[in-house]
């Protein structure tokens, strides 16, 4: 057994691999999508500048991200005057994991937590079940949480932190 594999048995190494998961672009994308979804009423559309300002991201970069989201049909866009970005009803049911997938791909949920090449369900490394479990729960959370539900929390004026409700 190589040292890399050996050391990978240590939970501290795993720990080092578990924290943080998505790119800055993806965070911007989540913010933007939730913002747009939270205003999905009527025929309202939002321009790049407004969205960028709301999510505190660089406008030009926000435009790029919105294009990606639009390409993946996570949000909808309309060109021309009175155009902009908005959410169609079905898009409110999309999971947050779709955003991660569009921006970063899903490898973050799939690769061996140790970075070991030989690890698989068939030949699992010792952490495969124990910690892959943690990650799977996380993925499940991403998959079970819809854009619309997040938007609804915001629109209600109360937001949820896990099981706790904060008023504001």
């Amino acid at each position: 057994m190589s040292f890399l594999e050996f050391i990978s048995y240590l939970w501290i190494i795993r720990l080092v691999n578990i924290i943080k998961m998505v790119s800055k672009s993806c965070k911007y994308a989540i913010r933007a999508t939730v913002f747009i979804a939270s205003r999905a009423n009527a025929e309202e559309r939002f321009g790049v500048k407004e969205i960028a300002a709301e999510i505190e991201a660089p406008p030009a970069f926000t435009a790029k991200i919105l294009r990606t989201l639009s390409k993946y049909k996570i949000i909808t866009s309309l060109k021309g005057p009175y155009g902009g970005f908005y959410c169609e009803k079905y898009q409110l049911d999309l999971a947050v994991s779709e955003i991660v997938n569009a921006m970063d791909g899903m490898s973050v949920f799939k690769e061996c937590v140790m970075g070991l090449h030989q690890c698989s369900d068939a030949h699992p490394c010792p952490m495969h079940y124990k910690y892959a479990g943690t990650r799977n729960e996380l993925m499940k959370t991403f998959q079970e949480t819809s854009v619309g539900s997040l938007a609804a929390d915001l629109s209600k004026g109360s937001v949820f932190i896990k099981n706790e409700v904060l008023e504001n």
Copy 2:
């Protein structure tokens, strides 16, 4: 309240900020340090090439990382023939957090989990205590875990994953 601040109340946004924490360099550094520490017996020293091979990192890059570790006195180096890298006794008592500090700095443990500028202990954001708590536990773990204890686990031929012992 800005939308950024507003959306930051959502646990999903927090979730997105908590996973992953340290750079690739830092992971290499942890691997390297634990490897060297695990062989801290006698007068044995290890060269860049050997260490790089053991931790499966690029040799030249490993050299750079070892220099940093040496500069921060996390490991000790000796030039010339029969030289190389090794751990002095006191260095086995150093915490893993020292490695993180040397490689990435400690800001990862200190910045507001939401990226909000106005957040502090005096003016905490709603997640400050709830999730900063999670991170603080993590930091505590890093601080309470010594290089030597990790090395000892390895040397014993059994490694710990949290409270569970794996034989190999």
